[in-house]
Amino acid sequence: MKNLILSLTTVLVASLSVNGAVTENFNHGSECYSWMNCWAFCNVDVRSRSYGCNPANESPMAQTSQLQGWWGCYSTAKLYSPYVSFDGTGNITFKHKLSSTSGKYRYLQAYLIDDQGNLGQKIFHHTYIYRYNKPNGNPTDVITDTIPVTWTGVYRVKWYWIGYGGYSRGVIDDISIDGIYASDPWDWCRPTNPCPDADNDGCCDADDAYPNDPSKCDNYYEPSKDTYNTIAYEDQWPYSGDYDFNDKVVDRYSTYGLDNNGKVIDVTHKIFLRAGGAGYHNGFAINMPDLVSSDIASVTGAVNPEDYTVLNANGTEAGQSSAVVIVWEDWVDIITAWGNGSYFNTEPTATPGTADTVTIHITFSSPQELSDMTFDPFLIKNGLRNTEVHLPWFGPTDKADLSMFNTGQDDSDLNGPGNNYVNSANKPWAIYTPVQTFDYPIEKTDIVLAHLKFAQWASTNGASFPDWYLDLPGYRDNTKLY
């Protein structure tokens, strides 16, 4: 059994690694690139100097600081390889030298560091200078050394320079280590660990948001994890309202499940009605204009007891050329307590009401691109399926009565490059606050009086105060917010 576990572990480590030799020639010229492959330095840096090991092309090499020592103590410098899985065969080869003959003592040693970070056996020693003598010839000549690999297991190699007196530096280049690369840059360059993957989807259980679901690994959160944002409506379209943007205030938090290639498998929308400052029996729906109904396998969670919408077998709305999901047909159906105001949660002196959170779960027929998850939320005005209220940069669905456009105050540009659902002065019927829930104005209070930077944002084409919805100093009149 132990042998089986050992074999599996070896296979898993190997699957995260590269067979062959681990090499480093420093020709990228930067420690940062070496770090990426889990090489590490202490009093060593990567430079291009005339005293390198490859003077013909002066390619970069690693050099130590000047190994002068001080007050009877040696100077040291260290270079660490990544972790390598050794099998007892092959060699470690490298070029090395000193930058000059200056110094009283200069040595280079190499050690193994085990997978717990402990110093292991010494595998190499070279004396450049001993009491000003050069026992192995001129130390500025390039030496190519070979260390036979006689050990097995996962180790990193540590080159260790020791020096005293003078100002020469150690130089090393063109390192090649026979073995399997076994460091994990994601995990602080620790040895690659066995990677249990219960659902065999290529994502380690420890990093898998769905460790027992082979179809999914990761999530995309809109707007961010455990956070809602808001769509706020004026519901009188095509007639202008009072711009308090509280006729319907809808919060939304979406979680898109992604496969191991980043494609979307499903999405869960949590939709919460926070305010209803008008009496219309509005429905709420989501259009996905980049998808068609057949892209969707199933929809669950809709609240549609009013029966004025017609659904396909998969839960999308019938008769649409894009994928449309009804969230609720009438907001009244999701209210759990009304409060005692004339409206729902827009009058500060009234007892607040409460509503259910509606959870819509959409499963796609096949993995979809994240860029196709366009979210177009819209009101269905007063239960009239032919009357929709969208954000300005979206158009109507196939169920909308196009003859209503450009009536009342509407000045939509259905066939042109301009906005839809705006009046002739480019004022919208809906706004979207992307970061957090919207602190909406109290009943019949214009948004420009409550959110004090809204006007500058709109009048400057969005250049000033793009964060107008945040609670920052000078941004709000809190007495005018619910």
Binding site: L16, V18, V22, E31, C32, W35, M36, C38, A40, F41, C42, C73, Y74, K78, Y80, Y107, I113, G117, L119, R131, Y181, D184, P185, W186, D187, C203, A209, C217, D218, N219, Y220, Y221, E222, K225, N260, G262, L370, S371, L391, P392, W393, G418, N419, A425, I431, Y432, P434, D446, I447, V448, L449, A455, Q456, A458, S459, N461, G462, P466, D467, L470
Partner: protein, 154 residues
């Protein structure tokens, strides 16, 4: 004729002055608007508060070939997206980002970077930035055989 040209020039100046004043009034009205109806909104303003943003992940020649999660967060550490990627593949990740955000935080395990977002584009590579923490120190472990090579007394 000269008088006529002078009068014409004065008229143009006077009209352009009036136009400037009118614009200033408009601008003032927009900033201090008491109602949305008063607002002067550019005809081409799209009212968008988010933008489809592309994070381009640049492939490296890293020796590690496994897939690990890359994490995208807002500047204030709110998690937007996690996705498994390999260090050797070019990947574009698209997501909606508030226009107000000028930077995102991108984390690949131990490699963390604050990345600028310009016109809906951002890029990330796996090369760590200079960081003292990456300089190894095994001083807690047994030290090499320095004591065997004594420094001679001068």
């Amino acid at each position: 004729m000269k008088k006529l040209m002078f009068l014409g020039a004065m008229l143009v100046l006077a009209l352009s002055s009036c136009q400037k004043d009118k614009d200033q009034v408009k601008s003032k009205n927009s900033v201090n608007a008491v109602s949305t109806a008063d607002l002067v909104v550019p005809k081409d303003f799209d009212w968008k508060t988010t933008r489809l943003t592309t994070l381009r992940i640049e492939a490296s020649d890293a020796m590690f070939t496994g897939k690990r999660p890359i994490v995208i967060k807002t500047e204030n550490d709110r998690l937007i997206l996690s996705r498994h990627v390999g260090m050797n593949e070019d990947v574009d990740i698209q997501f909606e980002l508030p226009i107000a955000y000028k930077q995102i935080k991108v984390e690949y395990g131990a490699i963390t970077k604050l990345v600028d977002v310009n016109n809906g584009m951002a890029s990330f590579d796996f090369v760590p930035v200079a960081n003292e923490e990456r300089i190894m120190d095994d001083s807690e472990n047994p030290q090499p055989e320095v004591e065997l090579i004594k420094v001679d007394e001068e």
